[in-house]
Symmetry: C3
Amino acid sequence: MQEFYVKSNRKFQMIDITAKVQEIVKKTGVEEGICCVYTPHATAAITVNENADPNVCEDFLDALAKLIPEGIWRHDRIDNNGAAHIKAALIGPSEAIPVRDGRLLLGTWQAVMLVELDGPRERKVIVEVR
Amino acid sequence: MQEFYVKSNRKFQMIDITAKVQEIVKKTGVEEGICCVYTPHATAAITVNENADPNVCEDFLDALAKLIPEGIWRHDRIDNNGAAHIKAALIGPSEAIPVRDGRLLLGTWQAVMLVELDGPRERKVIVEVR
Amino acid sequence: MQEFYVKSNRKFQMIDITAKVQEIVKKTGVEEGICCVYTPHATAAITVNENADPNVCEDFLDALAKLIPEGIWRHDRIDNNGAAHIKAALIGPSEAIPVRDGRLLLGTWQAVMLVELDGPRERKVIVEVR
């Protein structure tokens, strides 16, 4: 089990954490197994998608903003980040990715992404390989 | 592997199952690993989010109701719960959560939630720790 | 670790891969554990839902099409499949399913589905049981 921190600098942002996760997978020495990537936050999430064209990330954040508008939720009266909680619960805080030969079995167009939904903040990512 | 049952009493409801999942994790004696929380139903789901302000749960259910309206789906002619199936497939029946020192590594504002989408019903939750 | 390929023949399609995943689980000889089902593509996804009434699958694809319209995304200028990436990132490429007595612990109304979002194509599915 290892963890690391990433800093977002925008309210909505996708941060490519593939290299850091891969580095931890390698360090564990596990040749074959399941890698659980997890973020212990209620207004951030983990997903996997393309980062070769960074517009894919912008499109994803735009789509979320259209689906879940800001400022109309009960929780906004308390913390003003109701939309961020809804988006995080929908995407989910975790992804399970297979490992072979000590490497994440990602496809050519796949990157592991932290989804910042209420930044800028420092976020923790936990990696466990079994 | 262990399982337990929870009873919903509303059509749409989020039920905090963190304590029951944590109790099972402890019983397994596993100090470090991955905990898979799974619900074997096609109109319920598992997610992780805040429960300190219960409005976050109400907001999430409201957002789902707006995104996936009731009564306009092909499956409604057979079972009248088409929207529940769509929501369940989108959220997913499972979450993988890291375990350390015999405890779920949840963040301060994270709770494990069963999402009831077609209640009231009794629902099964399966917990497996590796 | 094993993998297999499935061919989609429509742009949007849900393909029931339960039997193939179950066959691999049985071959591993693992009696109890966690099965990770993963697709290494950025425009396909894995989910679990009902297949007894195939309309549930059509409803799910329709709902996705309504939520994430085609042709309005930045990435469309490059690859014309921006909506597919957004849907894939939202659903996610992986599901973790508990295994007991060498079998996936799916509910009566649950099937493991590959979600094709930019077909027709050949897609890879990876299965790892721990």
